[in-house]
Symmetry: D2
Subunit: 340 residues, 4 copies
């Protein structure tokens, strides 16, 4: 599936097998998931312009598969390995990489954006961003490691203490995974907020309390739930909806923590004095997963069945049905997969 021109849509084409460099591997794709970013690119909307896309491009960066060929300098990965792939390809040379922030490399490539993606039968990948799946993890689960890793990173950065009240804004696939992770790391109250009742229902099925700001006074309800703490200890902003910033900071207790993950399409208005300073708020923006710390955390939780990634999958399509798949991404859907 190729994104050839800066306009809505994409095309399907038969291509030659990618040629790999000495430090790359070739992967037979077994499952590839549709990310919100893919949808932006597919539709070529205003958000797409924020990313350094080079067309023509094969979209798709959340996937798993079998290694079928390895470059001559590759160590530690073999033909036959079941793998998933990190989207952020660090250069390994810059200051960020040097101090352990390869996920925010100053000279980064991004799979499916400026490096060929995985909505295809075969995909190549730099060997140093290939992660071997533990035994017992399925290909479908493995194709969700990349987005679930965003949830994991958000949870890690939230520094949840035992007994915390955690609010999750946005119940798309990442939010739904975060809603499973929060109790798995010690939160005792998890409140999921969305305007989409289909997604709230999924969150509820995963054990979260749910609120819909179209119906509920969310600030009041979160304060009630959090009791004498006076608000949530942690808010994870995953929706990307600018409206949530109207009430987000009211959900927090004094000295509460916010992690922002969702990309917001337009600037929001912030009262620094009242919403940040007087409340003593900590805020952390998340881009990508720590390599490989985040992956190890996630992988262990999945392998131990402490979270169930498959529960967020609602649709599976062959690559040929890509138009239907992308159309579905706007409706009553969790995660949508392309499977062979």
């Amino acid at each position: 599936m190729i994104k050839a021109r800066p306009e809505p849509g994409a095309t399907l084409a038969e291509m030659e097998l990618p040629k790999i460099q000495n430090d790359e591997v070739l992967i037979e794709v077994k499952s590839a998931a549709v990310c919100g970013t893919d949808v932006h690119f597919f539709q070529w909307d205003s958000t797409a312009a924020n990313f350094p896309v080079y067309l023509p491009l094969i979209l798709g960066h959340e996937y798993s598969g079998d290694v079928i060929e390895v470059g001559q300098d590759v160590e530690g990965i073999s033909v036959g390995d079941r793998v998933s792939v990190e989207t952020h390809v660090p250069c390994g040379k810059c200051y960020s990489c040097g101090i352990g922030n390869g996920h925010n490399c100053q000279d980064m490539k991004l799979v499916g954006i400026n490096y060929p993606g995985a909505f295809a039968r075969y995909a190549k990948a730099p060997s140093h961003v290939v992660y071997r799946l533990p035994a017992g993890v399925t290909y479908e689960e493995g194709s969700l490691f990349e987005p679930a890793g965003v949830a994991m990173r958000g949870i890690d950065e939230a520094h949840i203490s035992p007994g915390d009240t955690v609010v999750i804004l946005g119940c798309g696939p990442i939010g739904l995974v975060a809603a499973q992770m929060a109790p798995a790391v010690g939160a005792t109250q998890v409140v999921a907020i969305d305007v989409n009742d289909f997604r709230l229902k999924m969150a509820h099925a995963m054990g979260a309390q749910t609120l819909n700001p179209l119906r509920d006074n969310v600030a009041e309800q979160v304060r009630r739930i959090s009791g004498r703490r006076g608000g949530a200890d942690v808010v994870l902003e995953i929706s990307g909806a600018p409206e949530v910033y109207d009430y987000l900071f009211d959900l927090l207790r004094p000295e509460g923590r916010v992690v922002t993950i969702g990309h917001v399409s337009r600037p929001i208005s912030l009262n620094v004095s009242r919403q940040i300073n007087l409340k003593g708020v900590s805020l952390k923006g998340v881009f990508g997963r720590r390599i490989w710390e985040t992956w190890e955390h996630l992988s262990s939780l999945v392998a131990a069945k402490r979270i169930d990634l498959s529960a967020v999958i609602t649709h599976r399509f062959p690559l040929e049905a890509y138009e239907e798949a992308f159309a579905q991404a706007h409706g009553r859907a969790g995660k949508i997969l392309f499977v062979p």
Copy 2:
């Protein structure tokens, strides 16, 4: 129950109701648990000498009850409140207290050691160490907040990451509670080690994998369980048995973390170069609970039924049967309570 003389044993006597100061409260004791320290004092063994005991003394510092009287300067606590009590009474004036380390105050009083304890019908307590039990927590559970708080503090100081392998050395009541807490905060492999099969069985019932160093090569087993991590991420030493230091550091992966809680009766031998430096080990000694941070964490986990403190209780006695109770503390026992 009074410890009057520096020799084994104690006596029971009818006493006048304690008179409270302006900043104290009077509590009707509903449940009081026997701590290892109480056993040391009862038997007056070599460990007792490490503590600043002033005789005659009422033993007992793990308890809960109802407030039946409050001093005239007391705010925030009322007659009828269901409460538990922190053993470490901070002075509030010293440098330690000033920087938030009241649990290790430089001029600390200790309930049941140099402040009257709670193996009695009524006990007084300084109001600033009284903690109100949340609704739904029983008196018996409340009387275990103090020792369970040691487990909670150990877990907090261990900085467990999602997916960690956690080893618990010693399956007494604190170890058994820690074995429940570790998975509740994200550990996916919990290995409980003890030489007492009765206690190992209790640990197993709480979901831990169990090893007995009398039968098992514990270092080898832990390495196997932890897979390519090469050892446990975290070891909690709760046994106080000097023998465990022979293998404790072999259980850890490089850069692993140790929390020591158990009081060891004799010095141990440590190879700093091999066991600490080359391995990059972090070690933290724990004394008491952070006031009230640790209590809040614990209290939330108990109230949310994420851990079950009652599962570590094996015996209940009236205070009159104190000799039988202390005799039992050496056998097949978890936690032993005095209940009215």
Copy 3:
């Protein structure tokens, strides 16, 4: 000096000596500094409305003096002690206080806002917010511990690593103190930014590199100074000027840290996606000083002459000249003191 009515100005009056409660002390004021908040209240501008002021009120909350009387329940403070006072009076009972966040207490009193202040000959203070000055620290320095403590807290929350590049936005008294502290804790590049050249000159005299956004392309200059880090490691926002948010996030390297201290008079516009998420920014709002951790850090730096608080003082007035003093606060001034 009394603020009696919700309008510009104040009045001077002879009053009776304050009567102290059992847990309060009476202080003869030796030096009292004018804070920006005092100016807002004096002028009764829009910012004043953000604070829970109860009129009539004695303004002034940055001061030092001698204890001349202590309440009967006061321990650890004696007549004759040289002291400074924390503005944030924690209740000691709420959840925030319980977990060590007394500086952001849920039932807080604020000296000079809803508790009588110190633009007076004598002031009373709750004993638990009184801090004894170390030997060798002058009264004038002691009266600056409260605002300098804000700088100290900002520096502490910035988690400066050895060799960091630190940008300080706003060179008022707090900014000037922060400009001294940053190198004292390991920063090797300190860049002070302000539109006021008088203040920039003071910052330069304290060793900082200086930039004026009216003349300099600050983002470009900071990137140049920070070399291959690609931006500052830390930005301390102390100016409260809404305009700085136009470029603040451009000053940072990936995964950089921001501490906001300045109260901004109107909401700012924030591009969460680009300015926070993609950059991986950490942001922390600061309100008050950790009690007493921040004070101990500051006090030690001052006593060891690692920083010189007196260098930020530019004017001294008797209380009678209060109108001149407040008029001066808008001009070429650092810190303005009232001294007897």
Copy 4:
């Protein structure tokens, strides 16, 4: 200089220029420093046996020089670069490397131990452990980055707060560098302890207070210096002398922190209960430098002249005088260099 046999001494030989692999570089050595480990190997004493040495071996792992050849896969390093080299060569594949602990890699090579060292005219090095020296840093300083990096790592792991009292046990080159770093990152009291008065004099010249346990009651003196803190906030153990563990923990305040760096030749005796638990001590063992975080911290401090590495150099020899150099290492010496 070649260590050919497991016995005291070494030999000097003319060798062929090392052949580099595709991912290696060739360096013309400009300065190489003698480490304590080199001395152990030279003498072939009991400590040498703790390390995985493969003979014959070129010793020497603290050095700087000019890159004169680069392998064909090397990126980011060019002929002519002035560089220093990290001793710990991480594999990049193991769990430790994956979570950012490459300095304690599970499949690590060590320069000068099981990878050829630098007591030679030319040395090869894997390109991913080559660090480019900033402008203005001399070759001699650059050859001390490796040992000074151990001091830097110790300082980083000590989490020094502004105003801390820091004790440094052992005033060899690493201790002397640490004695300069501690005040540079905020310590206001630095106490250097050694039994060697020559080294104490050097520490004194660097601004530290000094104590000699042969003359001084060090515990009493440190308590006096630290005032009401009741002991040092931080102790850095760099001496490796087993005797210091007799009093090390008495130097600390409650909840104090210890970093151990010195390799101790025999096990020490530790009273876990009294020395660790009741005191609430944190202890961290240090092996190697975080790659490259530690190097960046150090490099910035050196480039900004906040510390002076050259001040710890006392002797310079040509490689031919190696026997004299090693003899000197036992006497009145700081750091000993081999220079061409």
